[in-house]
């Protein structure tokens, strides 16, 4: 039934003409110490966003994690509380994070406090002291956080997938063992800082209500004293995916199963990238995709299935993820394989491609329309050696990709025969369903 009886159908209004992708005003400078600074103007609110990307490949896992956890814990002249308070005075804040590619300092604050934020940033970079008490406190906190992460099904599924996909590559394990964290002492952190926290190959991005040249001057003034010859470490290329039996990870008592599939992908600069991005959207990369319409909107197996091309320095991979009801785990895998296979062997419909294309182009505009979005985008691109100009090239490739291009990309990258599949759930209940569809290897959930 409908709540009101339909009158004559109303027609969907057409879209107005597309607005051209307009890049914001920006400037770039490489300082004498090797630090690249990129400043982008978006004056919408009186704030500035800060992102400092430092290459950190092949660092010791536990020490790297502890370094990120304690980088802002003090300098010779400031305690952790003083650092936080001084940043707060100008409406600012900084936080540090790490992954197998990079160490990242991120923050935002009132634009009137830019100089002060940069000064504090410089002090932390050149003079972080890793005080004993703070390191001890943060060590315990990090260990607790790891324990909490290990109780999350999404984390356990991700851990199993990474291990299965990357084998012996440094990307295979990304969360340190609690025992290894407990062994980290302040001296080791100071050494690691001296070796790896240096400006060569690092990129600082400043986005906001700033004149780009003035922002570059401010960064140069604050950060040109940051030095320390250290080293960088090249990551080996990620290994190709090796399909094999489905890995069933047993988590007894789970009321849901975590389904993960890894498929091959290419870096942003590869000629297939735009077509692969469109193929991924059509498969499962947005809500109006075949996968979501099938296993959520038609069958009600799951709440939020999604697939995404993940780019890392050593390689790219496409990951599809869904949390599905235990009793329909087999059927959900069947439908997933069906949708991948259908796209890999039959071309998409023209209107499906147009819809995905508009989405890809529109979300580029949306991503650039906030200071925080622009900062994250600029920084992620800079981490792959790209600049914002690449957005315009990429938009042109998205605009030009044909049904044939997308079909070829789907055949090349989305074929289910290429997938590495991991399912975390109650093995006793889901094992037989999965075994009916694929050879299965079972192992207990490990942290």
């Amino acid at each position: 039934m409908t709540a009101t009886a339909p009158a004559a159908p109303r027609a969907l209004p057409p879209l107005g003409p597309n607005r051209r992708l307009k890049l914001p005003k920006q400037a770039e400078r490489t300082l004498g110490n090797g630090l690249t600074v990129i400043a982008v103007r978006r004056p919408a609110v009186p704030l500035v966003e800060v992102r400092l990307w430092m290459p950190f490949g092949r660092a010791h896992l536990a020490r790297g994690a502890m370094l990120a956890q304690t980088l802002l814990s003090g300098t010779r002249t400031m305690s952790s509380v003083q650092i936080a308070a001084e940043l707060q005075k100008v409406g600012g804040g900084l936080s540090a994070g790490i992954d197998p590619d990079r160490l990242m300092l991120s923050g935002a604050g009132l634009v009137t406090g830019l100089d002060r934020m940069l000064e504090i940033l410089a002090e932390v970079l050149t003079d972080a002291s890793y005080p004993n008490d703070d390191v001890a406190t943060e060590r315990d906190r990090l260990v607790d956080r790891i324990h909490v992460a290990r109780s999350q099904p999404a984390h356990l599924a991700r851990t199993a997938l990474l291990r299965r996909v990357y084998g012996t590559h440094p990307y295979a394990v990304q969360t340190p063992e609690p025992e290894a964290v407990r062994a980290v002492r302040p001296g080791v952190l100071r050494t690691l800082h001296a070796q790896r926290v240096h400006p060569a190959d690092a990129v600082l991005v400043l986005v906001g209500d700033v004149q780009p040249d003035r922002a570059l001057d401010a960064a140069e003034k604050a950060l040109s004293g940051w030095n320390g010859a250290g080293h960088t470490a090249e990551l080996p290329p990620a290994p190709p995916l090796e399909p094999g039996p489905l890995l069933l990870v047993d988590r007894p008592g789970s009321v849901q199963s975590s389904l993960r599939m890894a498929l091959p992908a290419v870096p942003r600069t590869h000629p297939d990238h735009a077509a692969l991005q469109l193929a991924n959207l059509i498969f499962g990369g947005y809500f109006s995709s075949r996968w979501v319409e099938n296993i959520r909107e038609d069958k009600g197996y799951t709440y939020g299935p999604h697939s995404l091309v993940e780019h890392s320095v050593a390689g790219s991979v496409l990951v599809a993820a869904a949390e599905v009801a235990t009793e329909v785990t087999g059927p959900a895998l069947l439908e997933t394989t069906y949708e991948l296979g259908r796209l890999a062997t039959l071309p998409p419909r023209e209107e499906e491609l147009e819809q995905a294309r508009q989405y890809a182009l529109g979300t580029l505009q949306l991503g650039m329309s906030t200071q925080a979005g622009l900062a994250s985008l600029t920084s992620a691109y800079a981490g792959s050696g790209l600049r914002l100009e690449f957005l315009a090239e990429h938009a042109a490739r998205l605009a030009q990709a044909t049904v044939t291009d997308v079909a070829e990309a789907a055949a090349r990258y989305l074929a289910p025969a290429r997938a590495v599949t991991v399912v975390l759930g109650d093995a006793e209940r889901i094992g037989p369903q999965l075994a009916a569809l694929a050879p299965v290897t079972t192992e207990p959930a490990r942290p």
Partner: protein, 436 residues
């Protein structure tokens, strides 16, 4: 160190308001700095209004609003928004339900058409209802049942603090209630609460006001007029004695605790309410805040700590009754009693000695950054203005919030802290089941 005070900046987003003949209130806030728009429709109904025996219904109904409408098949809404380059969602709160999209500005008319169509009438079918009950059950499993600390504290603390069904029940809903929901329940809910007179439409971003007004009249003008239902009084008396409870979370590896105190009415007594919003930040915003410094860094009694006003962290879009909440995770074997005692001690100290020099000013500067950052996205602006219009008739308050936060005084923060007494506190402890 001299307490040099950062000047608190403000935004000057223009605000145009009007009401259509059918009672729909409209807020427009143009900004042509990027070719994108935000569109929000907010209905004045939330979790507190759902009937007894129908826990989770407001949220289930939110899902049904995406399942087709008068001129749109199931799936069409998603395809038309995303096929125009946009993204969409909806969310259910204690006091309102919102539907929104953000898109390139050439899709303005399309977005208005889509929202108007479902305001006229969603397609409420048995098949869609059963499908979305299944989807919502998976949503509850992923967010609550299959993960540690699921629903803590927003679902687990209200039943300790409140006694009446509207304030105390589980807003995600029980599976029994969800499964017994009927199409006729949904039709009744729509008729009663999804009236044009009970809704606000806000459009922000790259629009021309005259053109947008014409388009809004074209698409919403003939939505049948229905008046807003009377909103019941959800008031409950304040606590007169401490309330405390605990439960075992089989999946949780570590203890956790949350405590809350009632605060003044956010709508009718905003001046008295605002100091509590600031107090929550003085206590918990970052390493230089009172409770983080004391409990995390000095005592090592907790490993993480957060605090905010409103059960969903929404201080400027919630009505009375609401609360200031503090929540903390503890290390293995941590002592919850001691944590609560220390919080009381720090609140006493703040009430007695007041804030330190510069402490309030720096907290206010950082709150300004958070407020400005949230409104930088056109959609954030549309959503907040829609709710401010609905609950206060004052969407332009968004521009004033950083300044008003900045005007809260030491004395007001101190007085607010003095009211957070143990005998007015409701708290809940998570006992770890050891993890699986």
């Amino acid at each position: 160190m001299a307490a040099r005070r950062s000047r608190i900046p403000a935004t000057k987003y223009p605000v145009e308001r009007f009401t259509l003949d059918n009672g729909l209130r409209v807020v427009l806030t143009p900004d042509r700095s990027a070719p994108v728009i935000g569109v929000a429709v907010v209905y004045d109904v939330g979790i507190r209004s759902e009937p007894e025996g129908r826990t989770g219904f407001a949220h289930l109904f939110e899902h049904l609003m995406f399942q087709g409408s008068e001129n749109l098949e199931k799936l069409a809404h998603f395809r038309h928004v995303q096929g125009a380059g946009g993204t969409f969602n909806g969310s259910t709160h204690l006091d309102y339900t919102d539907y929104f999209e953000t898109l390139p500005s050439n899709a303005l008319e399309r977005a208005l058409f889509l929202e108007a169509d479902r305001m006229r009438g969603p397609r409420l079918t048995e098949e869609n209802l059963r499908n979305q009950v299944d989807v919502v059950k998976e949503e509850i499993r992923v967010n609550v049942l299959n993960r540690p600390y699921g629903g803590f504290p927003w679902l687990t603390l209200p039943p300790v603090m409140f006694d009446t069904f509207p304030n105390a029940h589980d807003g995600y809903g029980s599976f029994v209630d969800l499964e017994s929901a009927t199409v006729s329940d949904a039709a009744d809910f729509f008729r009663r609460y999804y009236a044009s007179g009970n809704a606000v439409l806000a459009v922000s971003g790259d629009i021309d006001v005259a053109e947008a007004t014409t388009l809004i009249e074209r698409h919403f003008g003939d939505v049948p007029a229905r008046p807003a239902p009377e909103r019941p009084d959800f008031t409950e008396p304040d606590l007169t004695g401490e309330r405390r409870t605990s439960y075992t979370d089989e999946l949780a590896p570590l203890p956790a605790v949350a405590g809350a105190w009632r605060v003044p009415d956010p709508i009718t007594d905003f001046a008295a309410y605002l100091p509590y919003v600031v107090l929550a930040e003085v206590l918990t915003d970052g390493d230089a805040s009172r409770l983080v410094e004391r409990l995390v860094q000095r005592d090592r009694a907790v490993t993480s700590l957060g605090g905010y006003v409103g059960f969903m962290g929404d201080p400027f879009d919630v009505r009375d009754p609401t609360a200031l909440l503090l929540q903390a995770h503890l290390p293995p074997g941590g002592d919850v009693d001691k944590v609560l005692r220390t919080i009381d001690e720090e609140l006493d100290r703040l009430a007695t000695d007041g804030v330190a020099e510069g402490e309030l000013a720096r907290t206010q500067a950082r709150m300004a950054t958070h407020l400005l950052r949230d409104t930088d996205a056109v959609l954030g602006r549309a959503l907040q203005m829609a709710v401010l219009e609905q609950q206060r008739g004052e969407p332009g308050l968004l521009n004033d919030l950083p300044r008003l936060v900045g005007e809260v005084t030491d004395e007001q923060v101190r007085a607010a802290a003095a009211t957070l007494r143990p005998e007015r506190r409701a708290s809940i402890e998570v006992i770890p089941g050891g993890g699986r």
